[in-house]
Symmetry: C2
Subunit: 121 residues, 2 copies
């Protein structure tokens, strides 16, 4: 793969659909994935990995079993492995996720919201 | 460690010195490190890992042996393992680095610019 600059805002403009994870970069066995979201997600956890959220635009609420956190653009959060969480995005928001390549978005919950398409943009 | 939101701009305000790497987050065995830079760095490579640069503010030139790239705020770059590179920041710039916890900033070059302090902020 060529070594080239990745402009995150420009990548966002290429995403025309909600809830479809787009890979923008790879670091070792990790993917950097952009996704536009506007939904209430399922409760789930990832039992083998931490997961990083960086909010690019919009507003994201992340609920844990004992508290809720909100992310604004330029803020990030690490969900440790095994910690149950769900995201709620009342408006269209763009999230940069960083996690191992084989991480499934719905973790241990699986179900109809699982997305394995992982197209590169 | 508590699960809490990390505001990257607020973290930047806590950094009062140049060229000192500050850890802001950990994901598995990776660190997210902020550093303010204003210098020409040494040529080096990391032989065991890719390295991610995300520019938070300022301007960063990254030279490879066969080309040069520039990063503006909101842009990122993955330097693959083993690829020689050096950074040049003609103005004070803030970079978010993502790499394994044991990664040394000067890679295989070592020398006077090596920084192993890695304070958490």
């Amino acid at each position: 793969m060529s070594i080239s600059v990745i402009n995150l805002k420009e990548k966002c403009l290429k995403i025309n659909e909600l809830h479809s994870y787009k890979v923008v970069a790879q670091m070792n066995d990790y993917y950097f994935k952009l996704v536009k979201v506007n939904r209430e997600f399922v409760w789930h956890s990832h039992n083998n990995t931490d997961e990083v959220f960086i909010l690019i635009d919009g507003y994201l609420r992340i609920e844990l079993r004992d508290k809720a956190l909100t992310l604004k653009p330029g803020e990030m959060l690490v969900i440790p492995k095994g910690v149950e969480h769900r995201t709620i995005s009342p408006q269209v928001s763009t999230v940069l996720l960083i996690e191992p390549m084989d991480t499934v978005n719905t973790g241990d919950a699986d179900g109809s919201l699982t997305d394995n398409s992982l197209e590169w943009i």
